[in-house]
Structure formats: C-alpha cells, structure tokens
C-alpha cells in the first residue's frame, strides 16, 4: 500500500472574481522510503500541491490518503495523530524559525502538542539527539536562530520536522535559499536521513539538477498539471513530453566543452497565467509540435508517461 496518495487533487482560488487554477488534477503514489521529485517553473502549482498534501489548504476536489486514510475526512483526533506522520521543511530558513525562541524550544515545540512522544524529562535529551542527527552541536539548543547561517538554520528546520519521527517529509524548495556550497551539504543530509530512517520525501524544487540527485521518481508540472512522470532515469534521459524536453534542455550544462555541441530547444514566451489557462493542452501555446487537436482535446496522463498527443516515441 502506498504511504501517501494524491488522487485527482484540484485547487482553485477565487481572485477578484476570477479563478486561478493552481492545481488541476494531480495524482500520485509515494511508497515508504521513496523520494518523489516535483519539478516545474513558477506558477505551476508545486507549492500549492505541498500545502494540499499537508492539509494546509482544502482542495476544490480530490483526496489525499496517508496509509489509506482520507486526510480530509478524518476527525480532529485522528488528524492530530496524522501530523506526526507527515511533516514539512519550508523554503526560507529565515522566516520559518521564530527569532524569539531558542533552537531547543523550536526543535522541541512539536513535543508540546504531542506530549506522549516525549515525556517531560526526556525532552532535553531528545532535542540534543535531534540536533546531533542533523549535524549541529547539542549546546546549540540554547542559542537563537540569528546566531546561525542559512544552512545551519535549514538544519534546525529539518530537526524540527523529524522530532515526531514522521514517515514522510514534504520539502518545498528546501535548499533554494542556500549558497551552492551549502546546498550539497543539506541534500546529503536529507539523503543520509532517508537511508537511516526509511523516510519518504516529496521533494519540490525548480532546480532540476538537485532533483536528479535526490529523487527516485519525478513528476513534471506545468500550469497545475503533471505533464510527465516516470523514474529519474526515464524522465531525465528519455523525456517524452515536449515541455520536459525543453525544460531539461534549458538547464545550463556545467561543461564548457559541450558548448555549441548541444542543440538547445528554446521555448518562446513564458508560462501563461493560471487564471486563464489555454484550452486543450495547456502547453500548446509554447509547443513546437502543437496541432489543431491540441487546442480542442486535453491530453491525459494515461498509461503512457506523458500527457501529450504527440509524445516522443521511445525506441
């Protein structure tokens, strides 16, 4: 059974009388110990998806199941229990930590609500263990967030997310605010924690290179929809949706010897507004393969990997 399942998730927001189609029918399964990478450009709905998975937003339609239980249909008591299993690491290590709380209080705060996880006398020891786990020193518990660098703060955020021993952690752009030498440290930490504790991740990021390093499977989002999904190898080495191909092709390759040898696919224009998504296939306005059919009939993510009428054929 899947640990986390999204089934036809839809989230529309009403903004000044118009409807923003933030997430428009997203489904996936996540197995224990697995990482699902979610990639896409700004406005594709990846952060809204994270909030839906956390039950921080109510979906317009669709369901989220954790261990088979419907997250949006459960009573408060059961929901509280669920919170232990699903935790989140946020993007901004500066605004996601309360500046007036010590690190120990931040990391130990989940125990205030879930008292049975940590008996009062045990808290200090548990917090110190958590700090050690994420590569901080136990004595850091008495310091304040401003005394730490961005990378260290993100470690504090990870320690807090792990306090209740979750089964799945939703990471929304967990390293994009960090410097490049620090990003690798945090990504390695997340990978180590997964190996050590069998954690599952939904790893949301716009950085395709990072997702490749950490994910087992990938979902590529465009304007609220998953346009392609598959294993990391499938999506990165044999992409079939034109958008996936263009997205991968736009990532600068860190090897000057390849300059001019690759023929990049350049998309024209930018992502259309999610208030008024194109009819049929949402990518058709930027797609070089688009035909009449694409404007009238919406391609679905069926048995194939790509939601496209004219996907690349796999040899």
């Amino acid at each position: 059974m899947s640990l986390l399942r999204a089934d036809g998730l839809v989230k529309h927001f009403a903004v000044r009388g118009r409807t923003v189609h933030a997430v428009d029918g997203v489904s996936f399964d996540l197995a224990p110990g697995e990482t699902l990478g979610v990639v896409g450009e700004s406005g594709c709905g990846k952060s809204t998806l994270a909030k839906l998975l956390m039950r921080l937003e109510k979906p317009t339609a669709g369901r989220v199941y954790v261990d088979g239980a419907d997250v949006f249909a459960m009573p408060a008591r059961q929901l509280r229990r669920l919170r232990r299993d699903v935790q989140m690491v946020l993007q901004d290590p500066y605004t996601s930590l309360n500046p007036r709380m010590t690190v120990g209080a931040i990391v130990g705060e989940p125990f205030d609500i879930h008292r049975d996880v940590a008996p009062r006398g045990d808290r200090r020891r548990l917090v110190r263990e958590l700090l050690d786990l994420v590569g901080l020193r136990p004595e850091d518990a008495d310091r304040y967030p401003h005394q730490f660098s961005g990378g260290q703060r993100q470690r504090i955020g990870i320690a807090r997310a792990l306090a209740l021993r979750p089964k799945v952690v939703i990471c929304d752009e967990p390293v994009s605010a960090l410097d490049m030498s620090i990003q690798a440290q945090v990504v390695n930490l997340l990978a180590d924690l997964q190996r050590g504790y069998g954690l599952a991740y939904v790893f949301i990021a716009h950085d395709l290179t990072l997702v490749r390093r950490l994910a087992h499977r990938v979902a590529v989002m465009y304007l609220g929809k998953v346009v392609e999904t598959g294993t990391v190898t499938e999506v990165y080495e044999r992409p079939t949706h034109p958008y996936t191909r263009a997205l991968l092709s736009a990532v600068p390759v860190p090897d000057p010897a390849l300059r001019g040898r690759l023929t990049p696919i350049r998309l024209t224009g930018e992502v259309p507004s999610p208030t008024d998504p194109p009819s049929g296939c949402r990518f058709r306005t930027r797609c070089w393969k688009a035909q009449d059919l694409c404007a009238t009939e919406e391609p679905v993510l069926g048995l194939g990997r790509a939601a496209c009428h004219f996907p690349e054929l796999l040899r």
Partner: protein, 312 residues
C-alpha cells in the same frame, strides 16, 4: 591594455573590509563571469566599478582603470559621463530596478533625453527600436505600458534595453537571470550573448551558477570572502581548477563549514577552515596571487592542486 582593469580594489563598510584587494580585467568583446557565493563581494565589486556603492561602503584602496584612466580619481561629473555611456549595468531584480509609475518607454527614453538631448518623440522612437533589439514583441504598442504589465523575463529585457540606450562598451549584469525560471533564463542568456556579439560589447556577468558560467563565459574570476581566488579561461578552469574552492565547487561536493563572516575573517587564507589542502602556512599567511601562465590563483598550493587529478 585591457578595456577595464581593476587592481587591488579595497572596499570597507566602516570597520569591516568587504573587498580585500580585488584584481580582474575585462577585454573588449569578451564575457567575464564573476562567480561567487553570497557575501563573496561580487556585487560590491560591480558597484565600485560603476561608482554606485551604497554608503557606508567606501573604496579605501586600489584603482579601476577604464581605457587606462583611473575612474576612482575622476570628479563625479566625469564619472557620470562614463556611467551609462561607457559602462552600464543590469540588476538582478528588474521589478525593483524599474519605476512602477512611469511607462517603460518613458524610462528607456529618459537617459536619451537627458544625456543626448533627444526630444520626447525622438526618445520614444528610439525606445521602440531598443525594445525591438531586445526582442520584445509588439514593441510599438508595449512601449506605452507599465512595468507591472510585463512578465519577469520581459521586464529584464526592458532593463537591458535601458542599459543599452547609450551604447556602452561594457555591460555589467548582476545575476540577471537568478530571479527567472530556467526556460526564461535560457532566453535572456541567449539574448545577452547575441547583443554582445552584435555590439562587440564586453560583458561582466555576475553569477553563482556554474552552469551559466560554462555556457556563456570566456573567462572566469572566482571570488571568495572579498578576494578573487582564481582567474582562468573557462575551458582551463573546468578542466583543471587551481584553487581548492573552485575544485570543490566543480565536483559538486559539499564543502564543510560555512562561508566566513567578513566581520570576522579567518587568519591567513580565508578558505583554510573549509579546505582539505590546508596546512600550517594557510592558517598564518594569506596567500598571494600566483601567476600560473595566463591564469592565476591565490593559494599556497595552487601548483599542486592544478596537477592533482582528484581535484577535478
């Protein structure tokens, strides 16, 4: 002689030294990438070259020569003549670089009216031409629109058009694509490359992205803690880095520790607490820049790092 020669540039914020002797040069028509993490001094270097340092930052030493003339000794009036006409700049955040209450056409044309004495009508006409040159579709109509009516990528094109208005010989672009999505970033990088070729303009591209560097740069200056720690041709540098910091970045390896605070720099080489080559000398003596034949590195062990296969 280079077009732009920065020598031993030092900048301080009060008691804190933020640039401790930056040297780099830019030749006509070339693209120099200035690569570094936040706090390494890349933006301050650009601001010092432009003469737009924010107080309390002040230049406390060194020189910035443009076509042989030291800009730092020029009176402000002269400096202003060079700014925009000889050296222009594009900023990371195009939305805050543009004034929300004027049309983009007015803003692109403003420089031309003030500096070249163009009439309103002439300036507007020229603004349309510039918008065409930066590939903004329907420029004739859009010239009358306001910044908020443009997407992120189009806004960055508008600010590039503004920078190009006086046909500068040097364009400094400070993280011009960092705020953009990857497909739009690719468009803007292509555009900058095309404009540089068409105008034989030199480009100083400030970035933290190794991929961007590999794609567009001719040469690279790598900055760390207020110094240029390595300077080389892009192919040389990616084949065989000479500084341990560059080597670690290229490997994509996690570098232990964090970038140092400029208020409290480590003794000797500022990178030594994070360096796997660090020896006793690194803790006490700041390395000078070693000439390695057409390239240089500020490391006591640059020659060893250069030939060590594991560094690659």
């Amino acid at each position: 002689m280079s077009l732009l020669d920065v020598t031993d540039l030092r900048v301080a914020f009060g008691p804190t030294t933020v640039l401790s002797g930056v040297s780099l040069h830019l030749d006509p028509g070339e693209t120099l990438a200035v690569l570094g993490e936040s706090g390494s001094g890349k933006t301050v270097t650009a601001q010092a070259v432009m003469g737009i340092l924010d107080p309390p930052a002040v230049v406390v030493g060194g020189c910035v020569r443009y076509r042989g003339q030291d800009l730092l000794t020029l009176p402000e009036r002269e400096r202003r003549r060079i700014r925009g006409r000889e050296i222009a700049m594009v900023f990371q955040d195009a939305l805050s670089a543009l004034n929300p209450v004027f049309t983009v056409g007015y803003q692109i044309g403003e420089t031309l009216r003030i500096r070249d004495g163009l009439s309103r009508r002439e300036a507007l006409h020229r603004a349309v031409e510039l918008m065409d040159q930066v590939r903004i579709p329907a420029a004739r109509q859009r010239v009358h629109e306001y910044p908020h009516q443009f997407s992120g990528g189009m806004r960055q094109r508008v600010s590039i058009a503004m920078a190009l208005a006086l046909d500068p010989a040097v364009l400094i672009a400070d993280e011009p694509t960092t705020a953009l999505d990857v497909t739009v970033q690719a468009q803007i990088l292509d555009l900058l490359g095309e404009l540089r070729r068409e105008r034989t303009m030199a480009l100083m591209l400030i970035t933290h992205d190794l991929g961007v560097v590999a794609q567009v740069a001719d040469r690279i200056a790598v900055m760390y803690a207020g110094r240029v720690v390595e300077q080389a041709d892009v192919h040389q540098l990616f084949r065989a880095p000479a500084h341990p910091y560059t080597a670690a970045l290229l490997r994509g390896a996690a570098i232990s520790g964090t970038p140092p605070s400029l208020r409290d720099l480590p003794s000797g080489c500022a990178f030594h607490p994070r360096c796997r080559y660090a020896a006793a000398v690194c803790r006490t003596v700041a390395p000078s820049t070693v000439d390695l034949g057409g390239r240089s590195a500020a490391c006591h062990f640059a020659r060893e790092v250069l030939v060590e296969p594991a560094a690659r």
